[in-house]
Symmetry: C2
Subunit: 352 residues, 2 copies
């Protein structure tokens, strides 16, 4: 077995049960379960159920506040600083997203900063939340382990700092872009390591400047930014706006959540929601989004290339397929999850 497929609801219920057994509040456990499986549905398996065992370890070592008082500070009609009070990242960002959507409904747009949050998983999952309200979403985060040096340097002061945008369309699937500002995410490197697959050149580099393709040797090297100094600049911009501006960790203050399961991470994120109709009638906007999406998709492919993809359309296809055929969980993760189920004596032991 290299992977086993389980129905969406079964995995959600499994995560819920595991977290509840760890004394996580019922509604928090439910939100975590839904957001984590959404990450799997987005194809971001490095942020999906894969993360449950390390989250449990973090709970056990006291790294989370299981009774957080998540609240908005410095609130205006169009902004707030959310104090996550060291609660689950999924719960804190969901709180911020709902607040942003509510403010955007009334005022057109809203920018919510977060501090004292935690790792929340796939950026695209959050950026996509406003889509159900016909709104545009944007999300950025200071990621939780520094695996990249500044451009031209070797001290690992930067993380993968992802940014994601979601833009509604009409009949076409929405545009959803979810990207680390590094060539790849460390989560993906971990999946490659777990699966024993070699990484393409350009993802990582050793400290003496050579390409690193063996994912199991990730510790010996560092991630590379997209577009050289440009990706480094984007990465630092996210650090400034999601980290420094919110009084959250950036640079040497970032806790490596894969090594330290105890120290609060003070994770910083930004969530932004905006109503298209403050600029253009919604239907007109969605119709032209369809037109531009089709124009690009139907344009001529390179010889031997194609099909031309729109960011998010694979996602829509993949989601549908997983809802039908089940969500794939890699074999080594299944082993860990079954171990958790045994230990906690859960009803569902994730047998095939």
């Amino acid at each position: 077995m290299s992977e086993i497929r389980y129905p969406v609801e079964r995995l959600e219920n499994f995560i819920h049960a595991v977290l509840a057994a760890h004394d996580v509040l019922d509604d928090h456990a439910r939100i975590c379960a839904v957001r984590m499986i959404e990450a799997d549905l987005h194809g971001m398996h490095g942020h999906g159920i894969f993360r449950l065992p390390p989250y449990c370890r973090r709970i056990r070592e006291g790294g989370y506040n299981l009774r957080p008082d998540i609240r908005a500070e410095r609130e205006t009609h169009v902004s707030a600083l959310v104090d996550g009070d060291n609660g689950f990242g999924q719960v804190v960002v969901t709180f911020a997203a709902e607040l942003a959507i509510q403010k955007a409904r009334e005022s057109g747009l809203a920018w919510i900063g977060i501090h004292h949050g935690n790792h929340a998983g796939a950026a695209g999952v959050y950026a996509a939340l406003p889509l159900a309200h016909d709104m545009i979403g944007m999300y950025m985060a200071v990621a939780n382990a520094n695996h990249m040096p500044p451009w031209g340097g070797v001290d690992m002061l930067l993380s993968t700092n992802p940014i994601a945008y979601a833009i509604p369309a009409g009949e076409e699937p929405p545009f959803v872009l979810d990207m680390a500002t590094t060539e790849t995410s460390y989560g993906k490197v971990k999946v490659y390591a777990q699966e024993g697959r070699p990484m393409p050149e350009g993802w990582m580099m050793t400290k003496d400047g050579k390409p690193l393709t063996d994912a199991s040797r990730a510790e010996e090297g560092f991630l590379l930014p997209i577009g050289g100094h440009k990706g480094y600049g984007l990465n630092m911009m996210i650090g400034a706006l999601a980290g420094v501006l919110n009084g959250a960790a950036f640079g040497s203050d970032v806790i490596d959540f894969n090594k330290d399961f105890k120290t609060p991470t003070n994770t910083g994120q930004v969530f932004f929601a905006m109503r298209p109709d403050i600029f253009r009638d919604l239907d007109e906007f969605k119709t032209e989004m369809d037109l531009r999406i089709r124009e690009i998709r139907n344009s001529a492919p390179m010889e031997g290339g194609g099909p031309i993809r729109i960011p998010g359309e694979n996602l829509a296809r993949r989601k549908e397929q997983m809802r039908r055929d089940g969500v794939p969980v890699a074999a080594p993760v299944v082993v860990q999850l079954r171990g958790l189920a045994e230990e906690l004596d859960l009803e569902d032991k994730l047998a095939d």
Copy 2:
């Protein structure tokens, strides 16, 4: 002579005089002059005085509205759609920037969309405008000539679509990131062509997938996005938010302003300004920006690498140097400008 240096004020006055002689309103001519020389001061010479001859050609062929009624539509406390009425891009974006800064002063932040605008030059020049008000700036634009196909395609439906961010610091120069979502800008390619310099591999590709390094053959190939599909995604996001959302040109509707000097471009841009103190006390924020900037700059360089640069710090240095030693204008541009001065019988013929 490969370049001649002129004092800032002399070049500003020269642009002002040339535009005024073309029946441009006095205050519009002044704004254009200042913004264009700011582009040169930012080191973005492809968007500086270099553009004056093609702008003049555009005026003569009737491509601009020289008496535009630039106004805000669909206004809220935190947003507006600015109708540029086909006026000069520099004037329209400056109008939007001032409106955004005023709204952000009152409401914390503001997002201004622009349609019926024109090429406005260097993105970083605009993003940096809020810095004087201790605000964060962001700017994006649908650029004015499609030189890039969708990822995996060959039909040139996309432009260089730049994005720029400016973030205040305390004692350190502000963080200013100004980047095309392509590996390079077409403006830079034109400068290389003008100077007869070969381009690095990776900037452009021929239609059959080979590297293109001869800038004078730019017409035979296309620009490449940063980070492959990621840069393509960012580029399309900008197209959607600066173009489609504002009812401005994107995709096949983009006019190539280097070939067509007559058709209104309906250029779309986004200008965003935000007060840091809606999230954190300003002094605290600026002090920590200094700390993070220094931490990164002083980190260990790669062997044979370094110094480690902060986006914007070169800019600050370069600006100061040009204010002292003059702004360099490439020899072929000087020839064109002197031609204009002769033709218009200006007082300053730009003699050495």
